[in-house]
Symmetry: C2
Subunit: 132 residues, 2 copies
């Protein structure tokens, strides 16, 4: 049985906002920007974020404590994510590379640990920032 696909009111409001801004967004910035829609407390934001991450609609950029909408048809429910992050302008893009994801999904730990998920973050300078 699949996880529910229909979003609740708060979940919709928050996903809409994240998709609209189209760049990494932080929880409290989301909160400030959706207060006019009736969302008043951090917890309402964090609960929606948790759920949206769980169903793969958004991802958390761990090194930045920020959230982005998934650009990659929901990444098999958030199990395999990779991002490039510009250390100058903080632009983030989701990497969609079949070879890379195959390689990582099948990566076998020496200690025999079985992996269910991974998150990879690359850091560097984006094209714009590297010519500056």
């Amino acid at each position: 049985m699949l996880k529910q696909e229909t979003l609740s009111k708060n979940q919709k409001i928050i996903l809409d906002y994240i998709e609209k801004v189209n760049e990494p967004t932080k929880a409290y910035s989301i909160l400030h920007n959706v207060q006019k829609k009736g969302i008043k407390a951090p917890l309402q934001v964090y609960r929606a974020l948790d759920r949206l991450v769980e169903i793969g609609k958004i991802h958390k950029i761990e090194s930045r404590n920020a959230f982005v909408a998934c650009k990659n048809s929901s990444c098999q429910l958030s199990k395999a994510t990779a991002f490039s992050i510009c250390e100058s302008c903080e632009e983030v893009s989701e990497i969609s590379d079949n070879k890379l994801s195959k390689y990582l999904k099948s990566f076998q730990d020496k200690a025999g640990m079985k992996f269910k998920k991974y998150n990879l973050e690359f850091f560097g300078l984006c094209k714009k920032c590297s010519i500056k």
Copy 2:
């Protein structure tokens, strides 16, 4: 010219503690445990942590906001890190796999971004937790 190798007093105290506990440790837990050594404020801990990360003596586990000592001869100064994390017991180990690091170091982004650093975190169940 290489970054300075000699650690300051606070840096030594904090690195010693992290190496001793030998598991992911959080900043405020470090603070509580080194107060008897004269470290009184969060900032003293965070400053030392920043420096130790910079010189590759420790790494930050981004998804856990925790720090571990490097097990891998300093990871070329923190530029290329990979960890496995057990979602049940929270055990973390640093992955040392030549093929993996070669593959990731040479990974070429489609947008032409040049990477200088990466961090990879795998999640799953460790051996102990998977037989439970």
